[in-house]
């Protein structure tokens, strides 16, 4: 075997290692649907709480956020459990790290927003800024872990929305939140699903 052939063979081994490591990212991109689901849930909660829906139940505006968030969490949990059972996928260390980041973010959001609401100190602009900052943190942490620029860009959008919410008017704060949800949940979620679908098609066999 000459030097060039041997170099190609060895580079092929490195590529193979990288390809197998990239499986960690595939585990995450399988969660694209979850980002879209939460984006839609945020829109429903905003619409409900601002009185866009009519009827006896929908008229209870104070229930909008708690009911929507708990229902979405249950739906997300049920669908994820079903997906994992179907795929028989093992828990990867990267997946465990990312689940930990998002779970911690969820608990932090609950621990902050629930007392804020109960204490009567909730202010729309401050709440939007807090939610956007927490979502920015979780996106940045998992984006850096996966070296995924698109997710880091989402973190930056969330942080910008947070700042805009505090410096602008109540209406500007709402618009910043709606725009950030659109790009960071809906668009990013769909992009992640496309990546997952492409990756599945690209996978080929490895022989001894």
């Amino acid at each position: 075997m000459n030097d060039v052939t041997q170099d190609l063979e060895l580079t092929g081994r490195l590529t193979l290692i990288e390809k197998m490591i990239a499986e960690g990212r595939r585990t995450t991109t399988k969660w694209g649907w979850s980002a879209v689901l939460w984006g839609v849930a945020f829109y429903v909660a905003i619409a409900w709480s601002s009185g866009m829906f009519g009827g006896a139940i929908w008229g209870q505006h104070y229930m909008a956020w708690p009911v929507t968030m708990v229902a979405t969490w249950l739906l997300n949990w049920g669908l994820a459990a079903r997906m994992r059972r179907g795929a028989k996928a093992p828990m990867t260390t990267v997946a465990r790290a990312i689940i930990s980041i998002w779970a911690a973010m969820g608990f932090s959001m609950f621990a902050l927003l629930f007392p804020l609401g109960l204490s009567g100190r909730a202010d729309q602009q401050v709440c939007v800024a807090a939610v956007a900052t927490l979502l920015g943190t979780a996106n940045a942490a998992s984006g850096m872990l996966l070296k995924w620029k698109a997710q880091i860009a989402c973190a930056v959008v969330w942080w910008l929305a947070s700042a805009a919410s505090l410096f602008g008017t109540a209406m500007q704060s709402l618009i910043a939140f709606l725009v950030a949800i659109f790009f960071c949940q809906i668009v990013f979620g769909i992009y992640a699903m496309i990546c997952e679908s492409r990756e599945q098609r690209r996978q080929g066999a490895i022989h001894a």
């Binding site: 170099d7 490195l14 193979l16 197998m20 499986e23 028989k88 260390t93 080929g204 022989h207 001894a208």
Partner: protein, 98 residues
């Protein structure tokens, strides 16, 4: 000129290298998952996993789940060390090429 390192032949096999790399990222993995990820045939996969097991690089646990046999593979500490040494040797051999 510094002496170039030898590559561990057990790790160097394409499928065995893929299996070891996959196993570094998970706590344990089922035979079927490894087959799905590598696209290898049952026979080839079984043979390569046996070689890794004989070298002490992976450990296997066989059990029955809902009356179906299940083989769970996990990487051992020596497997992790062997892969790490292999990657270092590979980088040294390729040098400026990467």
């Amino acid at each position: 000129m510094p002496e170039l390192p030898d590559l561990n032949p057990v790790v160097h096999g394409k499928l065995r290298l893929a299996l070891l790399t996959l196993l570094t990222g998970v706590e344990e993995a089922e035979f079927t998952w490894l087959r799905e990820k590598t696209g290898a045939t049952d026979g080839n996969l079984g043979a390569q996993l046996l070689k890794l097991e004989e070298a002490g690089y992976v450990a296997v646990e066989k059990k029955f789940v809902e009356r179906k046999p299940q083989s769970l593979y996990r990487m051992t500490d020596s497997g992790r060390a062997a892969l790490s040494e292999y990657v270092q040797a590979l980088r040294q051999l390729l040098g400026a090429a990467i």
